[in-house]
């Protein structure tokens, strides 16, 4: 057996020079293609940063490199637009919606994964269908409803629906709850725990990574959301969130490209920082979607 292994090794090592050179060249070609593509992917970020550091005149010229550098832009942005106000509104929306999504989706997912009852499968399929249909389908009557409640123009139509279970989060959490070994739950039951208590303590503790992923996704989703904020707070600048403000930024007071790019960067930055801080949670979440076959 050892001899077989050594012969294999030997033959591998003695690959003819031409083959080795070919392999090396292929590897070089692979990597140069990758590096070139990577540069193309990073280029938009680079140009946005560069433009954000230009003077207005230069941003309107075809020069690519700032001369002189003008970091002052990042200060000016806060002066030209109520960025603080938009950030505050965004945080209100993101935080309240995310808490709502977690609090309301965990019990539903638990009922769909770990409690046996008739109609469970059907309920799960309905959740999936709700997930697949475009939100535009139900948007008109909902708008009418919020208008009748005099809440159009406030952040409530954006926040409140999240407190009643979010289909994607329910799906994700259910997938995770299915993987919790029954023994843990039984142990708690033997100790005399009621199901609600089990959910509140054992399950939530075991499902921390999944809950973190759901919270993260929900936060990013609301942070990026544009359609619903446009609908409900678009007419009320006091309640604009960052995505709306940014989209209106340029037309607001004929603002220049350099400032627009600085604002763009300011909106991009938090998301990218969160990504690097929470990379593991991201990976966890992507695998959780359970699409690996």
């Amino acid at each position: 057996m050892t001899s077989a292994a050594t012969t294999v090794r030997a033959t591998r090592r003695r690959a003819p020079a031409s083959v080795r050179r070919k392999r090396f060249l292929v590897a070089v070609a692979d990597h140069s293609l990758l590096i070139a593509t990577a540069i193309i992917f990073l280029a938009p970020f680079l140009f946005i940063v560069l433009t954000a550091l230009m003077t207005n005149n230069q941003a309107l010229s075809s020069h690519l490199w700032p001369h002189p550098f003008r970091p002052q832009n990042f200060v000016d942005v806060w002066r030209t637009a109520p960025l603080l106000r938009w950030t505050f509104n965004t945080m209100v929306y993101c935080v309240l919606a995310t808490i709502g999504v977690v609090v309301s989706s965990v019990p539903v997912a638990y009922a769909l994964a770990r409690v046996r009852w008739r109609g469970r499968e059907a309920a799960f399929i309905i959740v999936l269908v709700a997930l697949m249909l475009p939100p535009q389908v139900s948007v008109v009557p909902l708008y009418v409803m919020w208008a009748k409640l005099h809440l159009v123009g406030t952040l409530w139509p954006l926040i409140l629906p999240n407190w009643f279970g979010d289909a994607f989060s329910i799906f994700l959490l259910r997938q995770f709850f299915l993987t919790i070994p029954e023994e843990y739950l039984d142990a708690a039951r033997v100790d005399g725990c009621g199901e609600l208590r089990i959910l509140a303590t054992v399950v939530t503790r075991l499902a921390k990574p999944a809950i973190a992923a759901v919270a993260l996704f929900s936060f990013l989703y609301t942070f990026n959301d544009f359609f619903l904020p446009l609908l409900y707070v678009g007419q009320n600048p006091d309640n604009w969130v960052l995505s709306i403000g940014l989209a209106q930024f340029r037309s607001l007071h004929q603002v220049q490209w350099n400032l627009t790019m600085a604002a763009t960067l300011i909106v991009m930055l938090p998301v990218i920082v969160i990504f690097f801080l929470a990379q593991r949670v991201f990976v966890e979440g992507v695998t959780l979607t359970g699409v690996k076959g």
Partner: protein, 338 residues
């Protein structure tokens, strides 16, 4: 725990042997009832949410679609008039439908192919898989509004970096977001830039392809292309299906990028004295179905007509998902035991 003081009753029933059958039945019924109550408590957020934010609007949408409704005066029944207008008169609907089909037929396959190609490339790298994965994933994180703004600037016809660089190479760059022919392809570029999510999922699947299958195929004399076609593709076909379904679903809701690109690029043009309503700029070439629905519903407040559009969208979304899922049985490989 403190919620259920009834528990000992059920537990103690086997202790009294004389009245077993009746007692047990009672205990079982009680347990059933408690479980039902538990399910009801757990499911209540979703039951309320589904009824108020999904079921009710769906029914209401169907009702409103037969009405004329402007939010100010009560709905007025008009029968099929909205649908008739939609299918036979409204000149913009067909443009919007054509544009949306364009997205589904060009953008979605381009995204899937590109993500797959990237994933294959990254999987071949001997070093720095993690680095490349991060680089290609990063743009997907950029908020859509910010990414769109960035691209409108990058592709700015006169002074944008892309056309500047093309100019240095001696190529006359197109008008991108300001030209009817290039506005949609520009949106495709934007979509390809933000392909990270799909790429990551493909990459995980490609790396997961069992090595021994690839090696035995190689021993049988299959070249790289054949291995890709007969080993890798069948194994990852469920992932391809997933991304196609997701792509089609998202194509039906395509809104933010189109809206922002049209508003910004159109806004620039309107400084030169053109009309202000930028939706679909230029010349309806980025007028997608959801954009038109938004315009009718929330710019013009034709709620009845917008509802009719929503019902058509619902039917199409439902049919498309069904068709894809049913057809997929033919080409998605399901014999991989895991």
């Amino acid at each position: 725990m403190s919620l259920t003081p009834v528990a000992p009753a059920g537990a103690s029933s086997p202790a009294g042997p004389a009245v077993v059958p009746r007692d047990r039945r009672l205990a079982k019924r009680r347990a059933d009832w408690r479980r039902r109550r538990l399910v009801l408590i757990l499911m209540s957020p979703w039951i309320v949410g589904f009824t108020v934010f999904f079921g009710y609007p769906l029914v209401m949408s169907a009702y409103l679609s037969f009405n004329h409704y402007d939010l100010l005066s009560p709905p007025r029944w008009v029968g099929l008039a909205n649908y008739r207008y939609l299918f036979t008169i409204d000149p913009q609907v067909w443009t919007a439908i054509k544009n949306t089909i364009w997205i589904m037929v060009i953008m979605v396959p381009a995204q899937v192919l590109f993500a797959f190609g990237l994933a294959l490339m990254v999987a071949r790298a001997r070093r720095g898989i993690g680095f490349f994965r991060t680089v290609f994933y990063l743009p997907a994180l950029a908020p859509p509004v910010a990414a769109t703004l960035g691209f409108v600037y990058l592709l700015n016809p006169s002074t944008g970096p892309v056309n500047t660089i093309l100019g240095h190479l001696g190529i006359q760059g197109p008008l991108w977001f300001n030209s009817t022919a290039w506005a949609k392809p520009s949106l495709v570029l934007l979509a390809l830039w933000g392909i990270g999510n799909t790429m990551v999922i493909f990459l995980a699947a490609v790396i997961d392809v069992p090595r021994h299958l690839l090696e035995s195929a190689e021993l049988d004399g299959a070249n790289a292309l054949q291995r890709l076609r007969w080993v890798t593709l069948p194994i990852i076909s469920p992932v391809i299906l997933f991304s196609v379904v997701l792509g089609v679903i998202l194509a039906l809701q395509y809104f933010t990028q189109a809206y922002v690109a049209a508003a910004i690029a159109g806004g620039q043009a309107s400084q030169a004295g053109e009309n202000i309503n930028a939706l679909g700029y230029p010349e309806d070439s980025t007028l997608f179905y959801p954009v038109l629905l938004y315009q009718h519903g929330f710019n013009d407040f034709q709620m009845g007509y917008a509802s009719a559009m929503a019902m058509v969208l619902l039917a199409v979304a439902f049919a498309l998902t069904l068709v894809i899922v049913i057809n997929s049985r033919k080409w998605v490989h399901q014999a991989v035991p895991r």
